[in-house]
Amino acid sequence: MAETAGIRASRPLWWLWLALVYLFLFAPLFVVALLSFNKSPYGTLPFHWAGAYWYHQLFAESDLISSTQLSVELSLAVAAAGTTAGTLAAVALTRYRFRLRGLLVGALPLPIVVPWLVLGIALLLIVTLVGLGRGWPALFLGNLAVVIPYVVIIVSARLRDMDPSLEEASRSLGAGQWTTLCRVTLPLALPGVLGGALMAFVVCFNNFTLQYFLAPYGVETLPLSIYNLIRVGYRPDVNALSTILLAAALILLFFLDRLSAVPRGQRL
């Protein structure tokens, strides 16, 4: 496809705007990385080089590593379950017509439309009434509930864009619903599913509010650790951890970018 630039404004202007937006998005991240090398235990300027001091503190003394492990575990589990449930629901909502479809589609954004503060309180109430109390089941299911709409929306968008004729062909050739789903629909929808999974992971990893209300006793996921540290005894080893996470994500991104480099003229 030839030029897809729409409005005839010079391309550099668009690039400049993008650059400024990225600058805005990355400025605080740069500050975090900078502060991880700063001597001040208050996380404020002036700047004195501290070398790898806070990184050493992070691995030697702090509990942040175990909190990160917990957060990653939880988010992976939630992402896996959420992507599965959400993808199935997305297939049902986009590929089939049935009576309650409108209602279900309308009800879907509810967890996003309700502020998580409210949801957290409501969930805590319910699990207490039921006798379950705070704990891993409550935490897992609460995060799962808020993550599913994101997955459904992203996967549905991809499914709607896909050409349904391939699936029709598969079915007319005699394949059952499930086979069509696994062999035809899902592989084609994979970019959407992966996008949904990534979103699910990120939303859960970062979801401070729900974890604040539902995490089990004596257990701190990463957002909770940071919150407690920040309120009471902020130390720059938190910055060191974030810098490491960012670096890891950037490296991962770099490799994915290399792997998915497609020849010119071909869309992924």
Partner: protein, 360 residues
């Protein structure tokens, strides 16, 4: 396999390698074993979770100590109410919150004969009725302190000795006030020479609104305060005695005074949670916490914002200079406007007043 699938597989492989990397890291909280778990509910970084304190107790009890943190007084009540009972052994409520905890059946009465160190707690603290009910003791005073006036002596040369300083236009934009309804109302009451436990709320509200105009910001956590202080944005205000101790010990430009009108005081107490899984260990913990060994060591840890100890023997184990630094002046106790329990309706009124001040 399609291109996308190949990418996905490689990405998954990378993720697995990364995950393996993360998992191989030593996890410090991974102390589960055959030992009994003893659960403590306290503020983060407030003495009991210092590594030396935990190790000291673990030797006595042969157990594993796990902390559950809360970040507000009411947060502790919520914690206990929404499932803490039966899971948490001991908790540290403020004096003002012990009666609500008793009424909501969240804590149990203590057998003082099992806490030998109790007799060393300052008489003035033991005499407080707020941690007792029906003739039984529910809370043991552990640390006490004040939320009083501080100033930067390099900037305010003459010193200050009255709350009126916080209403002085001269230091506009260089003050910070503690974001807490109880402290705010009581401090304003002291300034207005009203009864701090039952002040005239209209006068208090007007005074607080006037005071707000002179603040650069409120501080809600001691990290907020530290940031403002170390960035030199404030030269005057109120702060807890603990951070004042640490700042002074580090030779920061700070003087902490008890104004002539008095100051807000608070007492933190150890209680045993109802249906505690390990009552015998709970008694050992409380005795350890109010013991002179722990309290003297905590007092010496000047970078950890130590408040004043409740054990009267501590004064004999530390230097006069250190005692002054942590404001270990038991004669203050009876002169402080202590934070005590308020009836729910009045507390709601004080909180709404504070919200209106903040929203004005």
């Amino acid at each position: 396999m399609t291109k996308t699938l190949r990418v996905a597989v490689r990405a998954a492989a990378l993720l697995c390698i990364a995950a393996a990397g993360i998992w191989s890291l030593p996890a410090h909280a991974d102390r589960a074993g055959v030992k009994v778990t003893f659960v403590v509910a306290n503020w983060k970084d407030y003495g009991s979770d210092a590594p030396w304190a935990v190790k000291g107790f673990e030797k006595i009890c042969n157990c594993t100590v796990v902390h559950q943190y809360f970040d507000s007084e009411q947060g502790l009540i919520n914690l206990l109410r929404t499932g803490g009972v039966g899971h948490i052994d001991v908790a540290l409520p403020n004096l003002a919150y012990i009666q609500p905890a008793i009424q909501q059946q969240l804590v149990q009465p203590l057998d003082i004969s099992k806490i030998p160190n109790y007799k060393y707690v300052y008489q003035a603290l033991r005499a407080l009725p707020d941690d007792k009910s029906g003739g039984k003791v529910y809370g043991v005073p552990w640390m006490w302190g004040t939320t009083s006036l501080w100033y930067n002596p390099q900037v305010i040369k003459g010193g200050v000795n009255s709350w009126a300083a916080l209403w002085n236009q001269k230091y506009k934009g260089k003050m910070s006030f503690f974001d807490d309804p109880t402290t705010a109302v009581m401090t304003a009451a002291l300034y207005l020479h009203e009864n701090p436990q039952h002040p005239n709320l209209n006068k208090v509200k007007a005074a607080l609104i006037a005071q707000k105009k002179l603040d650069v910001s409120y501080w809600a956590s001691w990290d907020d305060w530290k940031k403002l202080f170390s960035a030199k944005q404030i030269v005057l205000g109120n702060v807890w005695s603990g951070p004042a101790t640490t700042a002074m010990a580090a030779h920061q430009p700070l003087r902490y005074v008890l104004p002539k009108e008095g100051a807000v005081g608070w007492v933190d107490n150890w209680t045993m949670v109802k249906n505690a899984p390990n009552p015998a260990l709970a008694y050992k913990w409380i005795n350890y916490m109010i013991g002179v060994q722990f309290q003297a060591r905590y007092a010496k840890d000047l970078s950890a914002e130590p408040p004043a100890s409740s054990n009267s023997l501590v004064a004999k184990h530390i230097s006069k200079r250190l005692a002054n630094l942590i404001f270990l002046h038991p004669q203050w106790i009876t002169h402080l406007a202590l934070q005590r329990q308020l009836p729910q309706a009045e507390f709601q009124a004080w909180t709404r007043l504070w919200e209106e001040v903040k929203a004005s």
